[in-house]
Amino acid sequence: MELKNISAFLKAQIEAYHVQPIAYHRGIVTRVGDGVVRVEGLPGRLYGELLEFDGGVYGMALDLTENGVGAVLFDTADAVCVGCRVRGTGTVAETPVGDVLLGRVIDPIGRPLDGKPLQADRFLPVERPAPAIIDRRPVDKPMETGILAIDSMIPIGRGQRELIIGDRQTGKTTIALDSILNQKNSDMLCVYCAIGQKASTVAGVIQTLRNAGAMDYTVVVSATASDSPAMQYLAPYAAASVAEAFSAQGKDVLIVYDDLTKHAVAYRTMSLLLLRPPGREAFPGDVFYLHSRLLERSACLSKEKGGGSITALPIVETMAGNISAYIPTNIISITDGQIYLESELFHADVRPAVNTGLSVSRVGRAAQHDAMKAVSGTLRIDLSQYREMAVFTRFGNDLDASTKKMLRRGETLINIFKQDKNHPLSVFDEVVLLLAYNENCLEAVPARNMRGAMQKLIAVIGGACPGERERILQTGKMSDADKAALTAALHEKQEEYTS
């Protein structure tokens, strides 16, 4: 608008302004306990509507009855007492969205947690329906995690939901974080959603992202263990709305829910306090729907809808490796595959501790880079044969040459898959390492020197074949000529990187 028109515009607005009485219903708090309140009055509320209590405290209506409303509080319940007045806002919970959020840390209702003001101009409801069937297309583009064991054997496609499951302290968050770090030079944006975690853990995650320069393309939505169950319940939905706003612009988004076990526990707390009937493990009846409606929002959108995608990496913590507990089985059945991490492997220094037998990706193979497909075809079978043989021959010394060879190859493969945290690999690095394995170039290297040899190999071959490197990184394809050149280089420079 031009400057001279502003006063005319303002005058017109003022003249057209009519004083309208603001009519609303008021409720009275009749019971308060553990972040859940009972309100009398307030007819005509929406499910999930934001309620404003005296003292500026907000809550959400979750239990609508004839006489009143059951609501959960977003803040600590100190300011709310029996007799407090409540008013409906007429809107459901919303979260800010858009590019202004990149690099920021927010809570589920959009309040900044990083000490800086947030000027958001767009908001989306926290609960939104998942994309319709017609608006989706099959997953056909890879989402590189930069973790060799995953990209080669359990590939993840853009728009896929891949569960990361395992006991505590098995490296679940590390896998998710490495995946975020690996998007640094790609076109993907990331959302990290912390649910019910220790504030110190979340601070550590943010520091890791910041140190690696990953906050530039990442949004952190956090509801820590000290936040109310309602906040923890809302966090993943708010994070999904943030991701949806990006994907609606045609962007590819990676979203990490860390973790959904704590989300289910927060929801159980709320439900029990709202006096909903408990079911198995005291979870309410709709705990499946709780997660299915969340994870269904991750999808690969059709060209007509902008062609964006949301790849979800939900995390679930198991107890003593029990993946057949209630929440793990629910989420396993919702997602398109799982990465199973095992404590035994972790303590045996196999890190990332991926159990390849129990891990699976139900879509990713279709979305794997051609170059990766060409070198990773037999890995799973090699590994399972090795594991079987390793158990079988544990006490035997008389082994024939072919068995010894198989064991040696298996050990080499396991050592190749070991990877330091926060050091994701590029597609080229991964392809070259697997090519070296296929060509038996690393078998002579003892386990303790493997990491050094692998780093040298990547540097040496990358330097010797810059054209091939560039082509693989750009197109994800490896022609026969490229493969031949890389193989020749691997054999030729074997001395250099194995010494």
């Binding site: 603001i22 009519a23 609303y24 219903h25 008021r26 007819p43 008013r87 908001f123």
Partner: protein, 73 residues
């Protein structure tokens, strides 16, 4: 049963105005209403009518808040 209707104003309201509001309220909600008047500086101007759980807010503070929401979205 008599219902209570609270009329809250920013400053002391003249008896004429008060009675006028009472008359209009009776027309709208029926005769079985007992009126009470209160003052509340926070309203800045205008008045608020509370009847049962229903609130009719005609205060300046609420109007300004509405304008603020319209501007900030």
């Amino acid at each position: 049963m008599m219902r209570t209707c609270v009329i809250r104003a920013a400053s002391h309201m003249s008896d004429d105005t008060y009675e006028y509001i009472c008359r209009e309220a009776k027309k709208k909600f029926g005769d079985d209403i007992a009126f009470r008047r209160e003052t509340d500086d926070g309203l800045l101007g205008g008045f608020v009518l509370e009847i049962g759980t229903e609130i009719f807010d005609l205060s300046y503070a609420a109007q300004l808040e509405t304008i603020r929401k319209q501007i900030h979205g």
